[in-house]
Point group: C2
Chain length 698, copies 2
């Protein structure tokens, strides 16, 4: 099979994913929805989420416009240079369009996901009146639309860009577009969701002692909106970004090998594998339902394993039929395996049936300080298996594929990333299920559907939490492997540029080179500063919203007492969350971009090589730490709320609530945003490689 056919196959598979998404949407839409009150609240959530998306996309459009212009002028080579081996003008124009394309595709997928998720939430709530099975299916299928749309758009976009330009560098432009959007969607959405969550809890639970999702609380709707914009749109954009980046990196290296060999077998392989991954997810999603057991977690896991199995078998078949290299198949399988292992270890550290959560819950009996200390400790411990897993998979993939010849070793690592991300359609579906059932729980409470229904949604919600923790570990590892291969793509790009400029080629980045070490140290501090800026943004934004909630309780007569017909002004809270989130993400985003450029200008490409490595390493460390400790505190609190160690209202519970609140921005704002930060920085470095080669101070 030639690469053209492989791309056409990929496009067909993408379209089939869109078809499935359309069918799922129709199915969800057909479900009953009769409760007027729920419908009304759901509309509030829907319009809140749309407001956020609209404002986000407007700001993004301005940002992307500026970046696109800069790209046109400077990238891959400054436009006034006409001496290159390629037509600079045409090249710059193409990469600019690829970039815009990347933002638009990702935005489109996010929009579709939110559109369906905000319908599926009410359907899921009402379906819970009929039982757990139909309710599960509504939630899952609503989420699966996002999964299919994201991966479909990603594969379609990559295939189209490559089919049209036949130039892997252009994919980096597309990928950078996806990253730009992910930065806004993930970091902005993360600030949004935690602003609302913390504010709602601080005033509602802590000050007034009213239940979660109490309709009197003006921040409750914003909190539910936050679930959608943070966990549906944000996570979707994040994984869209990773999926595109993994393919882009693999294709950059595959092209380089294929050009030398005069064939297209490796490029073909990347497309075939990615398409099979999506196909496997399509089957997994379509097949998902609760079997005889009443356990939604099991249902989600079964579909995931099914997808994994299909991918492993069919890629083997394809490798056999099309005579791809078995060693590269091995690399992809190693990536897949490590993804599963990281998922399992993440589960160990965040599952309330396991020792870490139990011990943290127990420590909470001695007050919040010990909740925090022990949670931080287990969070630190939890990084080891994932880091070792990523290290080993990169090492094994490299060793497996290095014997194939020049360039294969780094290509092998990138194929491990492709392997790990192959089942991402399934992963996103599982993940988007979480906020839908979380919303459904809120709607059931606010709509007064009764305790039995709330209990069903609680069960579904709890499965969502477990799956979410696993997904995050998976997303972070995938980002880790992807950026390792982006480092390879960076070297490829630098050397293409060095060749055309007549500069010496770069073989690697020696740690003992002071420029590399300089970059390493600074790169390592970036994720820490980036997350600090985001978390401080959440704090500032939450202060504003808490003040607004206080104002409403003080000024709206009858609100605190829950007088019939008195409604809070939820839209004001939504506005605060939206405007604040988009404002507060700017310092963090700018910091990451500016410091990359500064290091490159000061220290040149060697400093940037070190910078990227430091950034990856400390980014993985902090992202894993924050996501896992956050998940652990969340489940520690839930464990106590389930009646253990004194249950709700006990001192242990109060301490656990503190842990959970600390964990909120850890796991939902800073931790997962670091992924995006790493990718953005890596792509900027690759795209600016010519600039750094030409203009650096040292």
């Amino acid at each position: 099979m030639g690469k053209i056919w492989a791309m056409i196959f990929s496009i067909v598979v993408s379209l089939s994913a869109f078809l499935l998404a359309g069918w799922l949407y129709q199915w969800v839409k057909k479900q009953d929805s009769t409760n007027e009150k729920i419908h009304k609240i759901s509309e509030l959530i829907r319009s809140g989420a749309n407001t956020f998306l609209r404002k986000e996309y407007i700001i993004l459009a301005k940002f992307a416009g500026v970046i696109a212009l800069l790209m046109f002028v400077f990238l891959p080579e400054p436009i006034w240079k006409t001496t290159g081996i390629v037509d600079v003008f045409e090249n710059n124009l193409t990469i600019m369009f690829a970039y815009i394309f990347g933002t638009v595709f990702s935005a489109m997928a996010g929009k579709i996901g939110i559109f369906v998720a905000t319908i599926a939430n009410k359907k899921t709530a009402e379906a819970a009146q009929k039982g757990i099975r139909p309710s599960f299916l509504s939630g899952f299928r609503g989420g699966a639309v996002m999964g299919m749309a994201v991966v479909g758009a990603s594969l379609l976009g990559v295939s189209l860009v490559f089919l049209i330009t036949n130039n892997a560098t252009m994919l980096l432009g597309f990928s950078f577009g996806a990253s730009s959007l992910a930065l806004f969607a993930k970091a902005g959405g993360g600030i949004y969701t935690k602003t609302a969550d913390i504010s709602a809890d601080l005033v509602g639970k802590v000050e007034l002692g009213i239940p979660e999702d109490d309709p009197r609380n003006p921040a409750v709707i914003a909190d539910n909106v936050g679930d959608n914009v943070g966990d549906v749109a944000g996570m979707g954009a994040d994984l869209f970004d990773s999926h595109v980046a993994s393919m882009a990196a693999a294709l950059v290296m595959a092209s380089a090998i294929d050009v030398v060999a005069g064939n297209s077998i490796n490029v073909t392989m990347v497309f075939v594998y990615a398409a099979i991954g999506l196909l496997a997810s399509v089957v997994g999603v379509a097949a998902a339902r609760m079997g005889k057991s009443d356990d939604p977690t099991k249902a989600l896991n079964t579909s995931t394993y099914l997808t994994t199995g299909i991918f492993a078998v069919f890629t083997a078949l394809a490798t056999w039929i099309f005579s791809f290299e078995w060693r590269i198949y091995g690399a992809a399988m190693v990536g897949l395996l490590v993804g599963v292992i990281v998922g399992i270890t993440t589960d160990y550290f965040t599952n309330d049936t396991k020792s870490p959560v139990r011990k943290v819950a127990k420590a909470s009996q001695s007050g919040p300080a010990l909740t925090i200390i022990s949670g931080v400790s287990y969070g630190f411990l939890s990084v080891l298996p994932a880091m070792v897993g990523i290290a080993v998979s990169a090492f094994v993939a490299y060793k497996l594929t290095a014997p194939l010849g020049d360039g294969y070793a780094l290509f092998g690592i990138s194929m491990a990333a492709v392997g790990m991300l192959s089942i991402v359609g399934m992963i996103i579906s599982n993940d988007a299920y979480g906020p839908i059932v979380d919303n459904a729980r809120g709607l059931a409470e606010m709509g007064g559907l009764g305790d039995e229904v709330i209990q069903i949604t609680d069960t579904l919600d709890s499965a969502g939490n477990t799956v979410k923790a696993v997904t995050k570990g998976f997303a972070i590892s995938a980002a880790g492997l992807t950026v390792i291969s982006l480092l390879g793509a960076f070297i490829s790009e630098v050397n293409v540029a060095a060749l055309s400029l007549g500069k010496p080629l770069i073989a690697g980045f020696d740690i003992m080179d002071p420029a590399v070490f300089f970059g390493l140290l600074i790169g390592a501090s970036v994720p820490a500063v980036f997350s600090a800026l985001l978390m401080l943004g959440v704090n500032r934004n939450a202060e504003r919203m808490v003040a607004e909630i206080h104002r409403q309780f003080d000024e709206i007569p009858g609100l605190k007492e829950g007088k019939e017909g008195v409604m809070p002004e939820s839209d004001k809270c939504i506005d605060i969350a939206t405007d604040g989130a988009l404002k507060e993400l700017i310092p963090a985003g700018l910091f990451a971009i500016v410091i990359t450029i500064l290091v490159g200008i000061v220290g040149g490409v060697y400093a940037i090589g070190g910078f990227l490595a430091g950034n990856i390493v400390s980014g993985l460390l902090l992202a894993l730490f924050m996501s896992n400790s956050g998940g652990l505190w969340d489940n520690g609190k839930k464990y106590i709320e389930a009646g253990n160690l004194g249950g709700k209202g006990s001192d242990a519970h109060k301490a656990a609530v503190v842990g959970d609140t600390v964990g909120d921005p850890f796991k939902d704002t800073a931790g997962p945003s670091i992924n995006t930060q790493i990718t953005v920085v890596s792509l900027i470095a690759s795209l600016l490689s010519v600039i750094f080669l030409t203009f650096s101070l040292f």
Copy 2:
């Protein structure tokens, strides 16, 4: 001047430091001490500290015995190899003795420091009755004994070992001895001090609401003992370790250059600079007193700046007289400057007159969760200036000295570390002042010396806290620069071994080499896991001690009510803290050692190179984060206790206490122990280089 004379000069200066220490001790001893009650309590602290040291040294002796034996058999080359270019038997015997020597010298300095500190505390308390000036002088001079003893012993030891063996590799053995002791002293002392502190606070302040240092609390004496074993002996051993390591690394590289050039100018330079540094500290310490102002912080800073100035001027003079390279002088000055800058930025993030502490205190009004989130955020932010400072100083030192020829660039970095650590005698003196006045405050309270006296000791104590935060930033940066130069020493060692084994030489560690990247990722996770194990150790140990305190309050009649003559069984708490601390540090220490060896065996020297780089980078990051956020929370609490934001007993205060308790193991156990962990790992790697070259799997 030849190197022999330089070493003799160093030995003479070391002896002058010991003389000054002796004089200071006599001076402290002569101060009044008449209060019987204070004397009795002080004796309890003294004997508690001695118990800990004794037990620590017994365990250490066993550990060091095993290590010494292993070194004899395996290091630098396996003893059964007789084909090397040197006499293996004699070499191994020498390095073994150098190792033992290193542990003994450090232990001796620690013992002297504790001996004087536990006398100076009561003298300081009683002197406070006469005013702040004499009290300050007692505290400072008591601490200065430690400063002089540590740096005197370090310089004396290094000079003697080099004078006797004339072999820089043997210094790595000496340095490893110092590191072994530091691991026990710093990590063990850190667990001890925080076990006692947290337990005393949890039961005393939180449960019973009795004041700090209340004599009824059985953990109070242990808490005061902890200040001595953690902050005097532990910090002393840590800086002894860094000072020795910086000299060892510089001498390894200086020797390599000098051998090729056939002279000894660079070795001479290292000794002359180190000796001038100690001399400057001697002058600074002797001159220190409170001038006309009543500000103890100013007095401490003035002496530090005096020392810095003397060092800068006299090394310039020496460089001129002995025709050392001015570029290397420049590198040393860059190190010194960066040390000062890091000190100042650390001060910004932990000083209660600056914005971060104020903002965290303000956030505490909304509950402990926001105290933690904002403290973590500022802690993350605080890493940037120090990381950039270290990166820039290494980069500048390298660029300055690289033109001098082969080997000079890494030597330049090591001289930046020597420059930064030159004033360490003064730094330790300032640092040991802290726990002495802290103890004095406790003694004044327990001895009933009245509010005015307590207030004086409070003022002295607060200066101690500020200085301590600065010292920690300094110690961490110094460790950072030192280990970068240890990385250079590692390459030197590997290549000496490679040469004798006929293996290819190593030019550097390329990040794109999968073995290097493999090491990088795993190395980066080690400090996180190491600190997690220590903090969990503190938790477990604190649980045991809290149980014991509860038992005493329940079983000893009249204790809770404070009946005249009823004393708690403080010794039981001391035993728990001691045994627990030494037990709990074992998993952390073993983990760091074993994983280093594993990575080396699996991935060989390249993996170890990456491992060390990852370890340094993430170690610096986490150490800075934890030390600074801990200091910030501590001072945030103090700021509120000074009457701001509602003062003691307010909700903000309660939240700030949670922050302070979380910060305790951050800043006094895990954060500073990471220094030692990094050095230990770097030295093991250097010492085992032959093994990794010969036996690695890949």
